[in-house]
């Protein structure tokens, strides 16, 4: 009999702590599928951020390193500079990457560090219980924007792909989403492409993944997927912003 589906070898067979409907478990699965398919489990080091995915090393069966809040890009830089032939993945949430770690993110990208960033954007702080993220939409209610995010007080949500696309060095920038099957498959393709580029020594890749946080959004998992589609996607345009290796630079611009 032909195996058409199995749990990825690099995904540990343990129960995850993620809430029902959370996007992290989907993204972990995609990432480990890609690690298996590329056969890089033995040369991969994942940097775990501070945020809901702080314990990702309990689920992903590769070497891993913690990073202080916001400093994943700096830790990844140190790892990659010390081990250019290893595959380094920086897996970060929106608070980690786009608030407290903006400087590290921008400068690692600007140096064209040859590692792969997976940026999970769910427009809210999950682990601390639903505060405003740098990517929280205008009008979105959170614990710290109880009347909705007011752009006059808190500015407008940061579009990290667009910001990084202003830099010269990054190789590949794409925004994907995991709110439905079609986009989940696209997300897997993007992760695989980013990692392949790193293996080939091409340079910095940045994959932003729009994701669901039903618990802190206060909606059902199904409604959460719908909210990504209806509210997030119109603001955070999906697609390839830059793909220098395949010559499709700034396709969406």
């Amino acid at each position: 009999m032909k195996t058409v589906y199995k749990k990825p070898d690099s995904l540990r067979k343990v129960k995850m702590h993620y809430c029902p409907g959370c996007g992290h478990s989907i993204i972990h699965k995609l990432l480990t599928q890609v690690i298996d398919e590329l056969g890089i489990r033995g040369k991969t080091v994942i940097v775990a951020p501070v945020g809901c995915s702080v314990l990702l090393y309990n689920y992903i069966d590769t070497d891993a390193s913690e990073a202080a809040h916001g400093r994943a890009a700096a830790v990844a830089t140190g790892l990659k500079r010390a081990m250019p032939d290893r595959v380094i993945i920086s897996y970060q949430g929106d608070g980690d990457l786009a608030a407290i770690g903006t400087a590290e993110t921008l400068h690692a990208a600007n140096r064209g560090e040859n590692f792969t960033v997976i940026f999970v954007n769910n427009a809210i702080y999950g682990m601390t219980g639903g505060q405003m993220a740098p990517t929280t939409l205008v009008g979105q209610k959170t614990k710290t924007t109880p009347f909705g995010r007011d752009e006059k007080l808190f500015g407008t949500p940061l579009r990290m792909c667009e910001i990084l696309n202003e830099l010269d060095a990054p190789l590949y920038i794409e925004r994907v989403s995991v709110h439905d099957v079609k986009n989940v498959l696209k997300t897997k393709k993007a992760i695989k492409k980013g990692l392949q580029y790193q293996i080939d020594g091409e340079g910095y890749s940045f994959i932003e993944v729009l994701s669901m946080c039903p618990t802190n959004w206060g909606v059902s998992p199904l409604q959460a997927a719908g909210w990504v589609k209806e509210s997030m996607v119109p603001y955070y345009r999906l697609g390839v912003f830059r793909d220098r290796a395949s010559g499709r630079e700034k396709q969406n611009d």
Binding site: T62, D63, R71, A74, V75, L79
Partner: protein, 353 residues
Amino acid sequence: MGDRVLMRGNEALCEGAIIAGCRYYFGYPITPQNEVPAYMAMRMPQIGGCFLQAESELASINMVWGASAAGKRVMTSSSSPGISLMQEGISYLAGAELPAVIVNIMRGGPGLGNIAPSQSDYYQSTRGGGHGDYRTPVLAPATVQEITHLMIDAFDLADLYRTPVIVAGDGVLGQMTEPLVLPEPSQKKLPEKDWVVDGAEGREARVLMSLRLSPQRALEDLNIKLKKKYDEIEKREARCDEYKMDDAEYVVVAFGTASRVAKASIDIARTRGIKIGLFRPITLWPFPENRLRELAENRRVKAFIDVEMNMGQMIDDVRLAVNGRKEVYFYGRTAGMLPDEDELLQKISEVVR
């Protein structure tokens, strides 16, 4: 023995690190240690190493984490305000038991302070510095020659105990040019780095982290483990130097640049018939308290004079060691106003009277 060369403190520390096998340097400019990144930017490419000017001290110390997690000898350097910024990272390094060498060429504070020599980060260096229950070994050289030796020792201590190590100099020492002979590499036998995260090929996956959530006792267990390590370091690694102490009735306690001024005052005081000597801690933590206690218990010794380039910080450790057996006096200047040998002589005269 190598040739005698003339080097500036900030450059000598780089050569010491290179002899120790350090091939990774991450740093951010700040006066008065700017010769360090400039020198490393030139030297690292020559020897197949990596120099990277980070976007901040926060980034520097976390790049240090990354290279250390890969098992490499790695260092950063900064001066007081920059070291304050690194404290979060140093706490994480201590928690994850990652070796690293951090050089602090101290300047005046608090705040932006000034760019002049100071020793006012004694508390910060010796009490952990960041959050949590931890310590870092602190080495305090007094000459450019000694810097080169202590850099090598710092890397050995870091690897031996899996801990960040601080080398604490000051602006005078960093900027001063002195003759020296470059040391030979260390022959110390060190434990294998069986904790490195370099890809789990053919083995179980490893994680380097300071987070300890479960079981409930996990973090306390880590702290107990760290405490045992710190006890071991206190027992084995305290170091000090003594000058004209054989018959001394009065003891000046000073480290780094302050100890050099103290020596000059001691020499003059000796010509006036005062039996006085110098006790110089080389390790600020572990503080060489056992030897100082012995001196305090010695009936010949009448009093201690603590001399620092701050408002009196090491004096707490001196008093703990002396434990009320003898009087402890203080003389200090700070923030670029160097201790003056005549002023110290005046203080010595007052104490002797």
